[in-house]
Symmetry: C2
Subunit: 235 residues, 2 copies
DNA sequence: ACCTGAACACCGTTCAAGT
DNA sequence: ACCTGAACACCGTTCAAGT
C-alpha cells in the first residue's frame, strides 16, 4: 500500500500532531464498501493480473480494509466468483435476430460465451463447481432455452439440453483456456502428445488409427462442431 | 503421527541412551519413497479424508519426510492428481462384450467412469484442467474410440467425439459431485432453485415455461440421457 | 541422485471487540 | 449493522546444503 505510506509521511511532516481527524481528511476518499464495489475491484484485478491474484486478502488491501470486512457482502470466495461471472455475462451482446436460423444463432451465442470464459480460465474453473444464479446468467439460460424451443424441441429436451450446452461451454473454457495460458499446462499437453505418439498399435490400436485426428482442427472449428453435434443430438 | 510418538517413548524407556542407531532400528521400517508410494498414500488419504487433505505437506508428513522430497517424484500437485486418476481408471472394469450393442456398452463404460469420479469431486475438478496421459487413461480413450468406430463413425468424428464424451463425464462429476458432498455447495443449488422459482414470466418467459423440467430426473437418468444425446449427435 | 530443513510468499475464514 | 485486527490453521514450491 504505497499510497497509505505516502499519506502517513505527509501527515507526520506537514500536519499538526493531532493525527486522526487530519489523516482522515487527507486520505483519498475511501469508497464505501458494497457488493458492487467488491465485484468491480475483483474484475479489475483479474483483468490486470489474473484471477489467482483477486484473493479476499488482496481485495481487502485494495479497498483499504481488513479481509473480515468483505464477508458482510459475500458469503465466501465462490459467491464472489458467481457475482463476477454475472457481471461478465451482462456484457455479452444478445444474438441478432437476423443472424440466421435458431441453430446458427444458438451456436453464435454459445461460442461468444465460451470465448468470454476462454480468456478467464480460472473463473471458468471456479464457475464449473458453482450454480450461477445471478439475473444476467438467468437471462442467458432463458435465451438458450428460447432458441431450443424455437427449434421445436419438447420442454424436457430443452431444459436438460441447456444444462449440457452451458456445462460444455464452461468446461471447454476451463480446460483449453488454462492450457493456452499457463506454462505448466502446456507441458501437460505435450506429455499427452508424446504419450499418444509413443503408443503402440498393439496395445492401443484405435488410438493409433485416429492419432492425427485427435489434435487436428482449430479451437474455433472444434468449438462450433461440438456445439453443433450436441444440438443435433438434442433434436 | 501417533505411531512415531509411541516408538519414541519406547526408545526412551526401554533402550540405551545411544539414540540414533537404536531409534533407527526401532522405528517401523520407513518405506522407500517412490512415485507409486506417493500415489498410494495420496489415494488412501483422499478415500479417508477427501482430496483437500491429500496435500504435499500432509503426504510428506505421512511418509516421514519433508515436502521438498516429493518433488523428486512428481513435478507438482497437478501431476500427482493425474497419477491418482490413472490408478483409479485402472480399477474400472472393462465393458463386457455381451452387454448389448456398441452404444449400450459405450454408455455403460462412460457411466461407470462418471460414477467413479462422482465419488471424488475434488479430483474430477482437478482432472478437468489436466491432460491425463497415464497408460490406463490412454486405455480408456482407446476403448471409447473402439466403440465409436464400431458404430461406423468416421475417424475424425470418433477422435473429436471421445474428447466431448470424456470431458462431459469429468465436468458432470466435478459439478454434481461436489454439490452432493459439500454443504456450502448445497446452498448454491438452493440459491439457483430460489432464483428460478422467483423468476417472473415477463423477464424470463422460457425459463418459467420449463421450470419444472429443469430440476427433474435422477442423476442416473440424466447421465444416461446426456451420453445418449451426445452419441446420437455424433452419429 | 536423492533427500532435507527452512524459508518465501502467501491463502480463506472466524472471532471477539469495537463503533 | 457494519467494520476491524488479530489469530487460526494451513498452503505449494524453491533453495542451499547435505549425503
Amino acid at each position: 500500500m504505497p499510497s497509505a505510506l505516502t499519506n502517513m509521511f505527509a501527515t507526520i511532516v506537514f500536519m499538526s500532531p493531532r493525527r486522526e481527524p487530519v489523516s482522515r481528511r487527507d486520505r483519498p476518499a475511501k469508497p464505501p464498501l458494497s457488493r458492487a464495489a467488491l465485484v468491480a475491484v475483483a474484475l479489475r484485478i483479474m483483468r490486470e493480473e489474473g484471477l489467482e491474484k483477486a484473493t479476499m486478502r488482496r481485495l481487502a488491501a485494495e479497498l483499504d480494509t481488513g479481509p473480515a470486512s468483505l464477508y458482510v457482502y459475500v458469503r465466501n470466495t465462490a459467491e464472489l466468483h458467481g457475482a463476477m461471472l454475472d457481471e461478465l455475462v451482462a456484457g455479452l451482446e444478445p444474438p441478432e435476430p437476423a443472424a440466421g436460423d435458431w441453430r446458427e444463432r444458438l451456436i453464435g451465442l454459445l461460442t461468444s460465451y465460451t470465448w468470454m470464459l476462454f480468456a478467464r480460465p480460472g473463473l471458468a474453473r471456479s464457475v464449473l463447481t458453482l450454480r450461477p444464479c445471478g439475473p444476467h446468467y438467468l437471462r442467458l439460460i432463458d435465451t438458450v432455452l428460447g432458441l431450443l424451443l424455437a427449434g421445436g424441441m419438447p420442454d424436457r429436451q430443452a431444459a436438460w439440453g441447456v444444462d449440457i450446452l452451458l456445462q460444455h461451454a464452461t468446461a471447454t473454457a476451463a480446460e483449453q483456456g488454462s492450457r493456452a495460458e499457463a506454462a505448466e499446462a502446456a507441458g501437460e499437453e505435450a506429455d499427452l502428445a508424446l504419450a499418444v505418439a509413443e503408443a503402440g498399435a498393439g496395445a492401443y490400436p484405435h488410438l493409433v488409427r485416429v492419432r492425427d485426428e485427435l489434435f487436428a482442427g482449430t479451437g474455433e472449428e472444434r468449438m462450433r462442431w461440438s456445439f453443433g453435434t450436441i444440438i443435433d443430438g438434442l433434436s
